[in-house]
């Protein structure tokens, strides 16, 4: 029996002894007769416990080993976006009662989490103009992939058509999620999307991998023409301004929730947003919260439609998802609520304005051009005179974290993202730096 006195373990030696006595054993080892003796108590090649002040200092030192946006101007997007998060949101999210609760299986003891989830569903429906939503998925890409599976279930078909303007990252996740179910993925030309007749879904990203706005309504028509569902994966911030999936007759809408109040945090934890038409709810994956009444007629909220889920339906469940991302959902809820009607719109417009200012100015620089046509939101591709990695290294020297390297699609293509967090000063510095770097050869 090791006897470590640790802040996270209250029992003292004498208490442990007392408990063992009450249990009726002499030593701890008597409690684990089934563990093969020769395998017990292996040596762990791990350091000894570090007191909190040591850990705190060590972790701060490690954190400083990263180049941190905020200290550096940052124009990276491509799936994760920097937006201002109000102190109000942080205060709400740090409440221990939200942070340290479990999934609300006991509704009487979890009305806080449940009502938040109901607000989340509500506001995501309002923002996407879809009819119903679930309480969140792991992240955007997995939500998109689950939408593909859902479309296959709904149509009883096994082919998923993916527009060629969808990010490869998403296609990979869709493949991981579907490959062993015999589902085939077909990449279709965005300019002339020819869908196979047995397509379960047409999967669209909006804005697409180049940051450009897709014609969702047209894609819906294309899908519906062959009896497929239209699935759109959208940037939620863009909905503050652009036409919604709901208005475009999209059947299933997913999104990466991160831009709505979630720190970029090296890519996680995020939350997938998922909404669809009312008719399809019983094939929706994930947790769903519904309103009902208690024995005294009081309004309250519960997890509902649980028969879709793995803990009831097991191998026939709509998804294997169990622990989801409720806390990140809370961040998104607090964010949407705090930004509200005017704020969400304003963020979208600021992003649009600043990105366009940057794009127009960069396009004027010798050697730089904007190779992708079409309307864009807050991301756009710049063709650079020098390789992107090289350009970015030069930018970093000037205190700027540059854009995302899209060379795989466009030679020397850099996807730049500008949000409301980028000041004009930063944008002008970027422009000046690009001019300098571009001309350096």
């Amino acid at each position: 029996m090791t006897t470590v006195n640790h802040p996270y373990i209250p029992s003292t030696d004498s208490e442990r002894a007392e408990m063992l006595r009450a249990i009726g054993v002499r030593a701890f080892a008597d409690l684990i007769p089934d563990i093969p003796r020769e395998k017990r108590f292996p040596k762990l090649d791990l350091p000894e416990a570090e007191p909190e002040p040591v850990v705190a200092a060590a972790m701060a030192a490690i954190a400083r080993q990263n180049v941190t946006p905020g200290e550096y101007a940052c124009f990276l997007g491509a799936g994760a976006y920097r937006h201002y998060i109000s102190a109000v949101c942080k205060a709400i999210v740090s409440r221990g009662e939200f942070l340290t609760a479990y999934t609300p299986y006991q509704p009487e003891a979890a009305q806080g989490s449940l009502q938040v989830a109901f607000e989340f569903q509500t506001m995501w429906c309002l923002l996407s103009e879809m009819e119903v939503a679930n309480a969140g998925m792991y992240d955007g890409p997995t939500a998109f992939a689950e939408a593909a599976l859902m479309a296959c279930r709904l149509t009883q078909r096994q082919t998923v058509a993916v527009l060629d303007t969808v990010d490869e990252r998403f296609v990979e996740v869709i493949r991981s999620y579907s490959s062993h179910k015999g589902i085939k993925i077909k990449i279709v030309d965005s300019h002339n999307p020819a869908l196979p007749a047995d397509a379960a879904a047409l999967m669209v990203q909006n804005p697409n991998v180049y940051g450009a706005i897709e014609d969702l309504a047209a894609h819906s028509k294309t899908a519906h023409a062959v009896g497929a569902l239209a699935v759109a994966h959208v940037n939620p911030t863009s909905l503050g301004m652009f036409k919604t999936p709901g208005e475009s007759d999209i059947d299933i809408c997913t999104a990466e929730g991160q831009p709505l109040g979630v720190p970029v945090s090296y890519g996680g934890s995020y939350v997938g947003l998922f909404s669809c038409k009312q008719a399809h709810i019983r094939q929706m994956p994930g947790r769903i919260v519904g309103r009902t009444t208690d024995t005294k007629g009081r309004t309250g909220y519960v997890l509902t439609l649980q028969t879709r889920e793995q803990h009831i339906r097991r191998e026939r469940a709509t998804s294997n998802i169990c622990t989801s991302t409720q806390l990140i959902g809370l961040m998104v809820t607090a964010y949407m609520a705090t930004m509200g009607k005017s704020g969400i719109r304003q963020v979208a417009e600021l992003c649009y304005q600043k990105a366009h200012y940057a794009a127009v100015e960069i396009a004027r620089l010798p050697g730089y051009s904007l190779p992708v046509k079409g309307v864009y939101f807050h991301e756009f591709v710049v063709k650079c005179p020098r390789p992107v990695a090289e350009t970015n290294r030069e930018l970093l020297k000037r205190g700027i974290i540059g854009g995302y390297d899209l060379t795989r699609r466009i030679p020397n293509g850099m996807l730049l993202c500008v949000t409301e967090t980028n000041t004009r000063q930063e944008i002008d510095a970027l422009i000046a730096a690009l001019r300098e770097i571009g001309g350096a050869r």
């Binding site: 762990l44 799936g79 009662e97 006991q106 003891a109 990979e172 090296y266 009081r298 191998e315 609520a337």
Partner: protein
């Protein structure tokens, strides 16, 4: 009760949209600082936008009041079996919110995020060390996704050997629902193996099922009955002899830390729920993280990314021997000179690919890493030992009143059966709901499904003896109440924001979002 109430003195449960007043704002933003740009054509734009308009105070008050309607670890004992509701250290949250972790972008090149990659690399090492399965990917976003990733690896392994007829997953009847669900997603046929009378796997039945169609056998260890499989070495051998792989559902890893390494028992693959064993906050249902660990020969199939270290910088792993100063290994990243960097994201040669958007649940990974450093090797073992002692102490204190699913020493949790109580008129549900009146969260109910009137109690190591004693006393008192005043149980909970909910109507007539009507 200090909450916001209505004029009738009831809780004010209005939703944000019902509180919305046109023109109110909770936040304002600066005007644009760039010259006005051409707007997109109107037909590309959305029409209306209905979202709440609330003042900042009302926003704070709304959410603060809501939070108080929750039970949580920070406020209540929460002996929810299978969930490991242990203390979530505050320092972990503080660390995760350091700008150097919180504000780094997933698309930054490796050389800019050496600190983050180091955390991931060392966490991989620690998890490999704890489980005895050295191949680690941190990509899976929760336990269920870890399972799925593990099953994809199993499939890829068999396929890489041309052994593609292996499409069966054998799963015990006591398994968690995610196991069969994940297997189905991986395109495997689920075959159930029954439990024996001692709560273990029926070895004979397993022997019959294991054959050349067996892709994988999934076993939860300790089992969902809170028991350590008594024939574990025999079982892993049976599966291996049949050419299958053995998967450990590591949701209950808290019982094994420093007690036994899963890999040394013959398991090939396992996942671990960092949000359980490694104390990251459950957040009301996630986010979690479910890293997958595999034996060395399977490492080439791991989902991407995996963090590797350049041999050049062979120092700073989180290990007993080579743990060095935290500010050391990476050169400063200022100015013009190229970085000396040691860690990078990589894709294993036969990787099953990408299963999530970026590099895993990073904010959770940071917390788990911080926890492991805080506990150290002895602390981890102590956690497991105390978790086991606490569960057995509760079991010993209740077994005369509540039947045990299996009368053996348990591991980190004990599965009680309220069948005697049920016979006297109170179901497991009633006992569970009555506990809420005493400020104690209900145990997991009716799981595992093979136990009648199951109440699964997992105290964890972070609860004090007084808390356990109080729980035992309350459970015994509730048992008394059945005969004294059964309404105390049937109508429970009495003093919470709501009493029992009409779940049937909720499912029959789904009301899933605010509607203008109210």
């Amino acid at each position: 009760m200090t909450a916001q109430t209505t004029i009738a003195g009831a809780l004010d449960r209005r939703l944000l949209m019902d509180r919305s007043v046109p023109g109110r704002v909770a936040l304002t933003l600066p005007a644009s600082d760039v010259p006005l740009q051409a707007a997109p054509s109107a037909d590309l734009l959305r029409k209306g936008l209905d979202l709440p308009e609330i003042s900042q105070l009302d926003m704070v008050r709304y959410f603060t009041n809501l939070s108080q309607l929750n039970f949580s670890i920070d406020t209540n004992f929460y002996p929810l079996g299978s969930c490991t509701m242990k203390y979530n250290p505050k320092i972990n949250d503080e660390v995760a919110s350091l700008p150097g972790f919180r504000d780094i972008h997933p698309n930054q090149p490796d050389e800019q995020v050496q600190g983050a990659l180091r955390v991931m690399f060392e966490l991989q090492h620690a998890l490999g060390e704890i489980t005895g399965l050295p191949g680690v990917s941190l990509a899976p976003l929760a336990g269920a996704q870890g399972e799925y990733a593990g099953l994809l690896i199993a499939r890829a392994y068999h396929e890489s050997r041309g052994d593609s007829a292996r499409t069966v997953a054998i799963i015990p009847d006591s398994a968690h629902g995610t196991n069969p669900a994940s297997a189905a997603m991986a395109g495997l046929e689920v075959v159930t193996v029954p439990s024996n009378a001692q709560g273990g796997v029926d070895v004979d039945a397993l022997r019959k099922l294991a054959d050349n169609r067996t892709a994988v056998f999934m076993l939860t260890l300790p089992s969902t009955l809170g028991l350590f499989e008594m024939n574990i070495l025999e079982i892993t051998k049976i599966i291996h002899d049949a050419g299958g792989l053995v998967y450990a559902d590591g949701a209950n890893l808290n019982a094994l830390l420093g007690i036994v390494k899963i890999g040394e028992l013959g398991f090939d693959i396992c996942h671990s729920n960092l949000h359980k064993t490694f104390s990251t906050p459950h957040g009301g249902g996630g986010p979690g993280a479910g890293p997958v660990m595999v034996a060395a020969r399977l490492a080439e199939f791991l989902p991407e990314p995996v963090v590797v270290r350049e041999p050049a910088a062979a120092k700073s792993s989180l290990s007993a021997t080579s743990h060095h100063g935290d500010a050391e290994p990476v050169e400063a990243h200022h100015g013009a000179k190229p970085y000396a960097f040691a860690y990078r994201l990589s894709r294993p040669p036969k990787s099953t690919g990408k299963i999530s958007g970026f590099h895993g649940s990073f904010s959770i990974l940071v917390r788990a890493y911080t926890y492991i450093r805080s506990m150290g090797r002895d602390g981890l073992r102590s956690a497991a030992e105390n978790a086991i002692i606490n569960a057995n102490y509760i079991q010993a204190g209740l077994k005369d009143k509540y039947a045990l699913a299996v009368d053996r020493y348990c591991m980190h949790e004990t599965v009680l059966s309220a069948k005697r109580q049920h016979a006297r008129g109170a179901a497991a549900l009633d006992v569970a709901k009555r506990l809420l009146d005493y400020g104690i969260h209900a145990p997991t109910m009716y799981f595992p499904m093979i136990v009648e009137q199951a109440l699964m109690v997992e105290p964890t190591e972070s609860e004090s003896k007084e808390t356990l004693d109080n729980f035992i006393q309350v459970m015994r008192q509730i048992d008394d109440e059945i005969d004294r005043d059964p309404a105390l149980l049937h109508d429970a909970p009495h003093d919470l924001p709501v009493s029992r909910m009409d779940e049937a109507t909720a499912a029959r007539k789904p009301y899933l979002r605010w509607q203008k009507s109210g």
